[in-house]
Subunit: 301 residues, 2 copies
């Protein structure tokens, strides 16, 4: 079995992994500081762990990133708010340091891939993975393939109804004010209620409002992507009541219009937590490494 490397690059840490699959995946955390420092520690760990046996590396990165294989900046982090990382050639840096094929995608697309391969969306041709934390991001699989399109989805920035009488908080997105992320990400909850989400008790009105916003978004994705399952991860989703509140609100919003067993009788499975938990992203990066390995061998035989 070939040995693969996996990197989930986040805003505060890199999760680096090495293994042949999710079962034997060994991981380590590297703090996200400057590209020079973080990459040095990352590459050193892979060299030490793999001892020359690495066949490919997959990168699941924070964004925005350039995923267009025809672009001169393919594999770069592009207009990131993290200035040190802006215009950083992530794929090029790993490929030249480790000398192996490199797969590349967004952190949420990779998490969707990981869950479809080893987690809660196994065997499903169409699914959606959403993370609700510092930001809100989504990755979709359609007809068995990750949806990229023109750029990559930026699902946190859809617009949803916002009743200012019920919720006068204007929204915190610097680009859009009260887009979904501006209303429902972790920092928005803290700004609205004056306390971080994890400190709010289960009976706090924050959760019904949060479920309302997330259910509006899920309604829109059910009507647009028609996924067979929706997985909700991220820090905000650690509140256990939230799943049931979202399912109830989604059923109310759909109002019987979508007549499928998933929606009419299977909402507990249709809207569910990821099975790989915080390992979904790095597991998905391992799938990206596999795909890069397969593509390289397909092209070089």
């Amino acid at each position: 079995m070939p040995l693969f490397g996996a990197i989930e690059a986040g805003g505060t840490k890199f999760v680096c992994g090495i293994g042949t699959g999710v079962e034997d995946l060994k991981t380590v955390h590297v703090p996200t500081t400057s590209p020079g420092e973080t990459m040095k520690a990352t590459v050193a760990w892979f060299r030490e762990q793999a001892a020359g046996g690495l066949e490919a590396v997959g990168i699941a990165s924070f964004g925005p990133i350039d995923l267009d294989p025809g672009s001169p900046t393919f594999g770069y982090i592009t207009s990131s708010p993290k200035l040190d990382w802006r215009n950083f050639d992530f794929v090029g840096a790993i490929r030249s340091a480790l000398g192996v094929p490199v797969g590349f995608d967004t952190d949420v697309n990779a998490a969707a891939l990981g869950e479809a391969r080893w987690g809660a969306a196994q065997g499903l041709s169409d699914c959606l993975y959403l993370t609700v934390g510092t930001g809100i991001g989504g990755g979709a699989i359609a007809n068995g393939r990750v949806l990229h399109g023109m750029l990559h989805p930026e699902m946190g920035h859809i617009r949803i109804p916002h009743d200012l009488l019920r919720d006068p908080y204007p929204g915190g997105c610097p680009y859009h004010g009260d887009c979904l992320e501006g209303l429902a990400c972790g920092p928005a909850i803290e700004a609205r209620w004056g306390a971080p989400a994890q400190d709010l008790p289960a009976d706090h009105p924050a959760w019904a409002l949060e479920a309302h916003y997330l259910a509006l978004a899920l309604n829109n994705w059910v009507c647009t992507l028609s996924p067979k399952r929706i997985l909700l991860g991220g820090g905000v989703m650690q509140q256990p009541r939230l799943f049931d509140l979202i399912r109830q609100e989604l059923a109310r919003l759909l109002n019987g219009y979508i007549q499928t067993s998933e929606v009419t009788s299977g909402l507990d499975r249709f809207v569910a937590p990821p099975q790989l938990g915080s390992r979904a992203g790095v597991a998905g990066a391992l799938v990206l490494a596999e795909q890069a390995y397969a593509a390289w061998h397909g092209e070089n035989e």
Copy 2:
């Protein structure tokens, strides 16, 4: 070149076509009355035109329809508001009458296919076709394949912000009130302003409001599907001012967040009318026939 049949089944008429491609596609209209009557006229026309030479038929149907090949009601119109057509085995009826392989999809998915093959989205792996008329429906192509998922998209039923101070009209969707279709389809325009859309002059405030709602929806689909082009067809889009109003409003809503050439400098091409016009659906049905023919030959060689 094999000869194919194509049916675009709409609420008021069937557009039936026969040809080897869009260039030689000959069409006829059959009124949509009862299944018995409409199917009899449709089948008679195909028999007369093809004289036994038909290789496959594609059906682009109003919905909801069952597209799941594993379902016992695959090929049926399911919970349609048209009671006569509810639980009608559309694919079975055509297959047994004409004895050829039958392709089947929604009218909007087929229109997306037709435009991707011969129209304004040629060569694009990811595109969106939207029709704004009696209802609002969308078909998406992702990674070169029509997006189906759990059921099929029901894009008209996404929820968007609705400012009741600017627009007190409560929305006309029997399921959702002020979903996109409830606010922005042709009958909603007529109910709000007291006159049908085609009678409203180009400087009527109806058009800025319509552009606002459609741009909110486009914003959501750009952030979710990341299409490389969006084609807007249907009766409401016959107002020529609407395209520019929508583009301006979409740019305002995205507010520089999506940095791609399509959005930053190419909005005139990114949001565009379909090239096949009212023939997009029947042309797409021809592509469905081709696909059914290819699949049948692949399985039987």
